[in-house]
Every structure is written in structure tokens, then in C-alpha cells.
Amino acid sequence: MEIYILVKQVPDPEAIVKVKSDSELEIENKYFTNFFDEIAIEAGLKLREKFGGKVTVLTVDNKKVDALRRGIAMGADDAIQITDPALEGSDQFAIAKALAAYLKDKPFGLILAGRQAMDDDAGIVGPAVAELLGIPHVNTIIGLEINDPKKEVKVIREVEGGKEILSCSLPALFTCQKGLNNPRIPQVMNVMKAMKTQIKKIDLAALGLSVADAGSQAAKIKVQKYLSPPKRPPVKMIKEDFPENVKALVKLLREEAKVI
């Protein structure tokens, strides 16, 4: 089975992110492989264990390739970096376009991605790639059952109020949610191998795309302004002892906050 995993390197959830100006953010230099992408990599590796084949990790990034190295360290066979100066300032749709351009002539059986990237929290690229490739997609899967890759597969998806069970034909794209699996921790020797791996770079021209397909001029959505999160006024600590404090709280919620 030919499996492709879309990965992205994002700031660590602990990294400090601040608004520097209307148009600029200050992001602490702490990056890691997007949490949900690791789940996707793990899912791909498990399928290769079951059906044989090849797992390739794929990213669109001009600078950072550690997510690709993480994929190799976990056990992926190959890593591809789509990189081009013209991609600077691209929105998610342009990124999806580049990925789809790469994938369209590959014999993929399955494409996996994380449910969203922890920087833009958008969840656009996965479904967008599926649309451009004309394949079905299912978001936020927490269960995946493939018995015969040539037949339909069963996926379980997280929805409000429960879990939805769907059947889907392959090839398809699934975005992975926490709970699908527990990503393996790479072994030292594999990390070393990954550090030495030559990563294939592909540019827009090789994808048959032009500068007009990428970058900020092609962007369909743009950031007009960055804002700090609204600051809550300092907490009102209820000083009374028990049980007066409970009564005081109810009163405040009723009369001041007016939420009950």
C-alpha cells in the first residue's frame, strides 16, 4: 500500500506566542512535529506493517524539516519537502494546491493527515487536498479498520453526541484525531538515521505550478491584524469561609455575572 502522510512542524504548545505588532507575531523558537500528524504517521506505519508497501512523509515548508525527520525516525521510508521562495506567505489553499500537484500522479492508496495544525488551528489542508484530488475524505477519525485495501474501509469519526461509523472507498484522505493510536517513540538508532537522511526537495516548477499559484498574492484569506487575547479582569477571590462562600458565589453568578 502506498501511503502518504502530510506533516507540519509547528510551535510547541508551551512556546510563548505574542503579538509584536498589527502584522507580526513573536514566536518562541520551540518547535515540534504537529501532535496530530504524529498520530497520522503512526497510523500509516501500522498499515504498512499489516499490508506492506511504502510510507512517505510530505511537508510544505521553506525552512523546517524536523517533522520529516521525525517521520523517518518513526519508520517512514521516504521524505519529501516541497519548498520554493514563492511559497512564502501562502495560505492553506495554496499549500493544498502544491501538495495535490505532487500527489496527483502518485499511486497512493491512502493519504493521512492530522486533524488540524496547532499553529493555525485551521484544518483546511486535509479536506482541500482531497477535493483537489477528487477523492473522498473523512475528518477527525478515531478508528480505522482496513481488511482489504481494495474494498471499502470502515472509519469511526468523532461527532457531537457520539461516534459516527462510516464506510469509505479507497483511495481516500483521512484526518486523524487523538485516540486513534499512540504514536511510537523513535529509537535512538532511527533518530540517527533520520538525522543523516537526505531529504528530497521539490519546487513549484517541478510541480507544474507557477509563482501565481502561491504566495500572498494568491491568498484567499489574509490576516488584517493580530490581536492579543482579551484580558480578563483580575479574579475576584471569594474570601468567606465555607459555607458562606458558596452562598456568595451563587449570589455573584446570579446578580453580577447574570449567568443563572
Binding site: P127, A128, P136, H137, G161, I165, K220, K222, L227, M237
Partner: protein, 367 residues
Amino acid sequence: MKFTILDCQFSIDFLKPGILKNYKLEIVNRKSQIGEEHIMSNEIWVFAEQQEGKVRKVAFELLSAGAELSKKTGSQVAAILLGSGLQEAVKSLIPFADKIYLMDDPAFASYTSDAYLINMAPLIKEHQPSILLGGATSTGKDLFPRLATHLQTGYAPDCTGLAMKENGKLVAKRPLYGGKVFAEMTFSEARPQMATVRNNTFLVNQNINKSAQVISISSHTDPSSLKKKVLGLEKAAGTKLDITEAEIVVAGGRGIKAPENFKMIEELSDVLNASVGTTRATVDEGWRDQKDQIGKSGKNISAKLYMAFGISGAIHHVLGIGTCKTVVAVDTDPNALIFNYADYGIVGDLFQIVPALTEELKKAMKE
């Protein structure tokens, strides 16, 4: 194209090539819609997501928002509704919209992106609304990115605010980096400007009092061409709303100490008609289900009231509650980080406070 003239009202049916399905003609409003031209309109459309024939609350919130936004441009507000057995659903929507584009067909009973997209896309292309809004629900977040790609238009996901510029351009506010910063997004010239919006971002305005014209559209769908099929739904135990939809959420963290102790949190939630949330700690321990997890790798909630019991306030959790209107925290540690993110705080023993709070609330609700 067929015009049916009834009592000075026009209703327009569209007969599409392909498989003709039964269509219903429902004339409900009394406004005339003469000479509707198929040019770029400034209409605001809302995807009226429904489940089992009932329209989700977020759709009413967005129709209310649409009504407010449209004041600047004088636009019309329309709902687009797909499903099966939608009589009640249509009725509920009528006061909230100027138009309802209705697709009632068994093929739409359960949401699948392919069935919905195939049918929505041509309608949108034809009418070119300026704005298309949907709830940031699992359906919305599944449909909208794909639809936007299909329509080659811009899409802002999971928004926490919307504003309209004079020229009809939408400004969508959304969180980034888990909520550490926010961004105001604007759109290119492509239409419609699409956005999914978080539950509870807008209030439902019961006083809009519109009278929607219902326009029935026949379905294009050949069921055999669909690549996905919903086999079933494993409903979560209990009848409470998902934490992303609930107006009030009460949550317990590691401080609850044991899974059985969640019972008192649940009793509190019953009194408040709230949903019960939790943190990653308890989910990883196996005490609570992941669907209730609030935080970076879980869900973001926008409740009007959030109460945290025995939750220390680690960053990955508190980012999930940033847009809650009122936050109450109870913890034994006066230095707990959670107090930095709360409006009201009590340093105390939750095992005492929660049952007392439940009792006190029962009394207060009775009055």
C-alpha cells in the same frame, strides 16, 4: 424554468437535469421576489445544519448574526437546509431568514461531504452569495474547507467574531496557536466569503420576525456515486449537549481524585442543565471520555458559564476556555494557575463545595 403565479406571489422552481426527484412546493411568505437576477448578490447565507430533522442552535445564532451584519448593507439573509423530513425544521427557520433554500431528500438524511457538496455547490455558484456561514461543528469543519476549495474561495475556520465593512467585506476574527493570539481575517475578491463560527459566539435573537420564502431545490444525487456512506451513529451515553454546544459547562480535573467522584459533578450539572467537561489528565487515566476533554488536544468551549473544580490550570487546558464568558474556579491551592484565568475563585475543598453549591443552586432555581 416554470413560473407559478399565486396570489401575487412568485415562487421559482428549478428543474435540474439529471435525476428528477419528488419536489415539494411550499409557498409560505407573502413577499414578492420579482426579477431575481443571477448576478453576484450581497446575500448572507447560513448553512442551517440539522440533525434528525432538528436545526442546530448554532444555525439560529448565525442567522441572528447575519441579520445584524446585514443592517450595514441591506442584504438579505438566507438559510440553506439539507436533510430529510424537514417540515418542522423549515417552520423553525422561517422567522429567522428572508429565504430558505431547501433540499429535502433521503440522500441527505445523514451528512456526507460528497452528497452535500454536489448539491450545494451549483446553488451557490448560481446565486453567488456574498457570505456563507456555518457552525464550527464537526459537520461544518468537514464540509466548509472542501466546499471552499471547490468554489475556489476563501474560508476562515472556527471564528469567534464577525464584522461587516461598509463595502460588504467580511472581517472574521479567529484564534491562532490555541488561542494565544487572535487574528482578524479578510477575504480576497472570491465569493462567497466563507466562515465557520464557534457555538455560543452569537446570541439567538428571537425578535427578528422575518418571513422566509421557501425555495425547494431538487437533489442531484445518484446514491451509487457516493463514495462514503454513514453506517450508523454510536450515541454517547446521556442526553447532555456536547461541551462545545452547551451554554454551561462544569468540569473536574485531577483534583477529583477518583472516577466515582465525578458523580457529584454530574449532579451539579443536572441542576444547571450543563454538560460535564474534563482535562487531559483524567482522560489519559481513563476516568472520562475524550469527547469531554477541554484543551489543546481536545475541544475549545465558548460557554457562557464555565466552572472548574480541581483543575490546576495548565496552559493547554486554559486555552480551551478562553472564550467562555464567566469562569469560576475552585481549588485547594491558592497559587493555582487556574485563578489567573477565572472571574471568580474559591480556595477550598471541592468535596465540600460542590455538593453545597448543588444544594444552593437548587434553592436559587426554585425562586
